[in-house]
């Protein structure tokens, strides 16, 4: 199979972000949109993620992106005319505080969230136990709860965007790898793939954990790094837990998906920067210790599978959604720092508007120059 020899826009990366950008570009009337994916769609971080969708963030940008993305998830089946239901479950996210300092941070976050009409609230330990009755309250001083947070199926959201994009004429090439981005002077002239050259003057970097490698192709040293995060799934059990339970002190998240299995992850603070996506025994021990301590009935449930994926992390743990200043025509939707899936819908809208030269539906300032200026607002709520 050979690729088209020219395009208006070439998107590198067939995860949920790249596909959301592709769909929105086509929706805005951009013709000849090409998307390149070196394996199958969603084969990178998208299919490996924890499938949670959360609006309880600590920075305005993350709150705005998450809140608006939730609106889109709520209407996605109709909007994208999906073949399969995307399995949206809104049973909330319960965040637990183990110290007064942590609780103070939650209160600050709740103030930011209220500006964006995110229906989150503070809860006492007792209220937390009402929400999740099998919770071990030992050490818990309080928490925060947002009832409209929840879960969607990443595989089926990926499929939904891909099918909708194809219907609008986007050419999606799987098992096709971008080998280099050709630049002449300071403008982009094309993308060289293992199936041929595509002439274009606009490229979208949506390569997730490998976004820095795409940056190198145009001579940019992007301020992102990749890091393995591990996750496991259990056998299916009867409905036990409605909300996602999350703790930044334990550095874990744990939810029961609509089909019945529990899905949980732990962020190892010692994890080095790498492209390693192998599973470790260490993770199984740490994860199960923490989860069974916090949610004791889980000890009777069997783990059936573990895997890992890459976070692509920026210094302030907010994404970069911008056009490069050094290389005009090089657009980036990268550095999602572990929460790309849940803010992909709004990211797709905003980056497509930026590329199409349309008025943005939301004011965002997520350029990479913020790291040089040093005006960072660190997102405090990442596992």
């Amino acid at each position: 199979m050979s690729v088209k020899n020219k395009a208006d826009v070439v998107i590198i990366g067939g995860g949920v972000v790249g596909l959301a950008v592709a769909y929105n570009l086509a929706r805005l009337g951009i013709k000849d949109v090409v998307l390149l994916e070196r394996a199958y769609l969603g084969s990178g971080a998208t299919s490996r993620c924890g499938a949670g969708i959360r609006q309880q963030w600590g920075t305005e940008m993350n709150c705005a992106l998450a809140r608006n993305s939730m609106d889109i998830f709520e209407n996605m089946n109709e909007m994208l005319e999906t073949k399969r239901d995307i399995e949206l479950k809104q049973k909330g996210y319960l965040l637990l505080a183990f110290s007064d300092r942590e609780m103070e941070q939650f209160r600050k976050n709740l103030k930011v969230q209220s500006k964006f009409d995110i229906p989150s609230r503070e809860v006492t330990p007792r209220e937390a136990k009402d929400i999740v009755p099998h919770l071990n309250l030992e050490g818990i001083v309080g928490g925060a709860f947002c009832p409209t947070d929840g879960h969607v199926n990443p595989f089926l959201v990926t499929e939904a965007y891909a099918n909708a994009a194809r219907r609008l004429g986007v050419d999606i090439y799987t098992y096709t790898e971008a080998l280099d981005v050709e630049v002449s002077g300071d403008s982009i002239t094309g993308v060289r793939t293992d199936q041929g050259l595509i002439k274009t003057d606009r490229v979208v970097n949506a390569a997730g954990g490998y976004s820095q490698q795409i940056g190198e192709m145009v001579g940019l040293d992007l301020p992102v790094k990749s890091e393995r995060h591990e996750i496991l799934v259990t056998e299916k059990v009867a409905p036990l837990q409605g909300p996602m339970v999350m703790s930044f002190s334990y550095n874990i998240y744990c939810q029961q998906t609509p089909e019945g299995p529990f899905l949980m992850g732990y962020g190892d603070p010692e994890e080095p920067e790498s492209y390693n996506i192998n599973s470790s025994w260490h993770f199984l021990e740490e994860m199960t210790r923490k989860a069974t301590s916090l949610l004791p009935p889980l000890k009777h449930i069997r783990v059936i599978r573990q895997w890992a994926g890459l976070y692509n992390i920026t210094p302030d743990r907010q994404p970069i959604i911008a056009e490069s200043r050094e290389v005009p025509g090089f657009f980036m939707a990268i550095g999602f720092s572990g929460h790309g899936f849940m803010i992909a819908p709004m990211t797709g809208v905003l980056l497509a508007e930026m590329i199409a030269g349309e008025e943005p539906s939301l004011e965002i300032k997520l350029d990479p120059e913020r790291f040089e200026r040093g005006d960072l607002i660190l997102e405090p709520s990442v596992v």
Binding site: Y40, L41, G42, S43, S47, K83, R84, F155, L156, E159, V233, T234, E235, K236, E259, S279, L284, E285, T288, R289, A291, T292, S293, L298, K299, H300, I301, R302, V303, I304, R305, Q306, W307
Partner: protein
């Protein structure tokens, strides 16, 4: 053999007809098929369905079974209770 009544994946209750429909939609690798319809993602970890799906795909593609790539085999090898992994030896 009625495809509607032939179970391919027992854990996920998937029939041959359902699997064939997913393949007809263009999902032709096991990695993609399992993500769309959960084939092989149950507690038996694909011990039956992975022995069948490669034959089904090989027939559709007109190739040999050995040409169908198996999905990544993920640990642990069999289900283990979280309590045992956490070190609760002896507790039921």
């Amino acid at each position: 053999m009625d495809p509607q009544n032939t179970i391919i994946c027992r854990c996920e209750d998937l029939t041959l007809a359902e699997v064939e429909e997913v393949i007809a939609e263009g999902y032709t690798t096991i990695e993609e098929i399992k993500r769309i319809c959960r084939l092989g993602m149950g507690p038996c970890r694909g011990s039956t369905c992975l022995q069948l799906i490669d034959i089904i795909l090989a027939r559709k593609k007109g190739c040999g079974r050995e040409d169908i790539k198996m999905p990544t085999n993920r640990p642990p090898l069999e289900g283990i209770k979280m309590g045992e992994l956490a070190g609760d030896v002896g507790e039921k």
